[in-house]
C-alpha cells in the first residue's frame, strides 16, 4: 500500500517500512483489513480499522484515509442543559440519525462554521439515548461561554463524527482497571466506567477524580451510589486544595492513585484531563508495571482562540 501510494505521487509520513514504527498509520473506511496489516497496534486502533500502510497488501478494494478527526458533520438538537456545579454544565444532545461512537471518544461541537471545540462523550451507547458532555466555562472560552449563556433547549447545533482512541474494549473482562481524571476529564471516564460495567467487566475498576476544591467536584453522589451497586467498582474523589471534607482523599488524584496502587503489572490504565497529569501519569503507570499497550490517555489541551483542532476541557 505504502509503495503504491508513493509510486502514484501520494506521499504519506513513513519511516521504518517494516511494520514497526507505526508512522504510516492509516484508517480503512470500507473493506477488510487483515490482521497482518495491524502488527502491534493497540486494540482501540484495531477496533477502528486502523492499519500500517507499509504492511498492507490489499487483495480487494478498500477505501482508506489518513487518521483525521472530525470529518463528517451532522445536526443535533439540544435536549437538556443543567448545572453540575458552579462551573460545569451537562449538555445533552438528541440525534435523529444513528450515531456511531464509543464512550470516551470525542466530537467537535460547532458554535459556527469557523469555531468549534472538542468535547468528550460521557454517554454510553446502549445505556443513554442522548449524547452527553460536561462543559466547563473557561475565562476566554468562545464555545464554552456560548454553551453556558446562549444555548437553549430545542436549539440545533452541528457536531462532527466521533474519534479518539481512549475507550473500553471488552477483550479482557477480568483485567483490573485504573482510571484517573482531573476536572472535566471525568466526562470520558464516567462514560468508560459505565460502559465497562454495562459490558459485564468483572475485574476491579478503580476511579480517582481530582479537583482543586470541594465545590468543583461533580457527579459524586451518582458515582458513590454506583460504587454501592457494584462491589468491584471503587470511586475516590480527591481534593488537592487545603480544605478536605470527610469522604474525600487529600492530594492530587494521580498521587493518591499511584500511592494506593503501586504494582500495576497487568492493569489497564486510563488517564484524562490536565495535559501535565496525563503525560506524567503515563510514565508513572508504565514505571509501576503497566505495559505501554495498556495505557489509554486523553490530554485536554486548551486552545488559543484561533486554533480549533485540539481538545479543550
Amino acid at each position: 500500500m505504502l509503495d503504491c501510494l508513493t509510486a502514484h505521487g501520494v506521499s504519506i509520513p513513513s519511516s521504518c517500512h517494516a511494520g514497526i514504527c507505526q508512522t504510516c498509520l492509516m484508517q480503512a473506511i470500507s473493506g477488510n483489513i487483515p490482521a497482518t496489516a495491524q502488527p502491534g497496534l493497540k486494540n482501540t486502533l484495531v477496533a477502528q480499522n486502523y492499519f500500517l500502510a507499509c504492511s498492507f497488501h490489499p487483495q480487494e478494494d478498500v477505501q482508506i484515509r489518513l487518521p483525521m478527526t472530525g470529518l463528517g458533520k451532522l445536526s443535533a438538537t439540544v435536549a437538556e442543559i443543567d448545572f453540575l456545579n458552579t462551573q460545569i454544565v451537562r449538555l445533552k444532545l438528541a440525534l435523529n440519525t444513528k450515531f456511531n461512537y464509543k464512550a470516551g471518544q470525542f466530537i467537535n461541537l460547532f458554535k459556527d462554521n469557523a469555531t468549534s471545540r472538542a468535547y468528550s462523550l460521557a454517554s454510553v451507547p446502549g445505556i443513554d439515548d442522548q449524547l452527553q458532555f460536561h462543559i466547563r466555562k473557561l475565562p476566554d472560552g468562545l464555545v464554552s461561554h456560548w454553551v453556558h449563556h446562549d444555548l437553549k433547549v430545542g436549539d440545533n447545533v452541528d457536531i462532527s463524527d466521533a474519534s479518539g482512541d481512549c475507550f473500553y474494549v471488552p477483550d479482557m473482562p477480568d483485567q483490573k482497571l485504573l482510571l484517573i481524571a482531573t476536572g472535566t476529564g471525568l466526562a470520558p471516564l464516567y462514560g468508560i466506567v459505565r460502559d465497562a460495567l454495562f459490558q459485564g467487566h468483572s475485574g476491579t475498576i478503580k476511579l480517582y477524580h481530582g479537583s482543586n476544591s470541594p465545590d468543583l467536584v461533580y457527579l459524586s453522589e451518582e458515582l458513590k451510589s454506583l460504587a454501592l451497586q457494584f462491589d468491584h467498582f471503587n470511586y475516590t474523589p480527591c481534593i488537592s486544595g487545603k480544605t478536605v471534607p470527610q469522604g474525600f482523599a487529600a492530594g492530587r488524584a494521580q498521587e493518591v492513585a499511584f500511592k494506593e496502587n503501586q504494582d500495576l503489572s497487568g492493569w489497564r490504565v486510563f488517564l484524562c484531563g490536565h495535559p501535565k497529569m496525563v503525560s506524567t501519569g503515563k510514565k508513572l503507570a508504565f514505571l509501576a508495571g503497566a505495559s505501554t499497550g495498556n495505557i489509554y490517555a486523553d490530554p485536554f489541551v486548551l486552545v488559543p482562540r484561533s486554533a480549533s483542532k485540539t481538545i479543550s476541557a
Binding site: S15, C16, A18, C21, G40, F286, T292
Partner: protein, 121 residues
C-alpha cells in the same frame, strides 16, 4: 542457517523486550531526559524499531537515517557515555530474558556498529 533475529526469537522477542528495556531507560537518570516530551506510545514503537535493528531484524534504516534520527539529540549533548548506558540496558534486558550470552554479544556488536552514526561522528 537462521539469522541472529530468528535465533533471539524474532518479533516475539522484540515485544517481550521492549517494555523491560524502555522501563530501564526511563529510570536511568543519565539518559532519561532524552526521552522527555515524546509521546509514550509513539516512543515505545520507536524502541521496538531500535530493538529490531539491534537484533539484526528486518528494517530499512540506513546509517544516514540513524544520523538524522538522532541529530537533534546530539545537539542536546548526546555522547559516548549515553550510548554506553543504552548498551548496558540492552545487555541487561536480554540477560533478563535468558538470551544466551553469545547471542547477546552478537546483538551488542550490531548496536555498537551504529555508534558513529547515532552520535553523528
Amino acid at each position: 542457517m537462521s539469522s541472529l533475529y530468528e535465533k533471539i526469537g524474532g518479533e516475539g522477542a522484540v515485544n517481550a523486550a521492549v517494555d523491560i528495556f524502555y522501563r530501564k531507560v526511563l529510570k536511568d537518570d543519565r539518559i532519561k531526559h532524552f526521552f522527555d516530551g515524546v509521546d509514550m506510545a509513539k516512543q515505545a514503537a520507536k524502541q521496538k524499531a531500535f530493538l529490531t535493528v539491534a537484533f539484526g531484524g528486518p528494517n530499512k534504516y540506513s546509517g544516514e537515517d540513524m544520523r538524522k534520527g538522532h541529530a537533534h539529540l546530539v545537539k542536546n549533548g548526546l555522547n559516548d557515555s549515553h550510548f554506553d548506558a543504552v548498551m548496558e540496558h540492552l545487555g541487561a534486558t536480554l540477560k533478563e530474558l535468558n538470551v544466551p550470552a553469545d547471542l547477546i554479544g552478537q546483538a551488542a556488536a550490531v548496536a555498537e556498529s551504529t555508534r558513529n552514526d547515532v552520535l553523528g561522528k
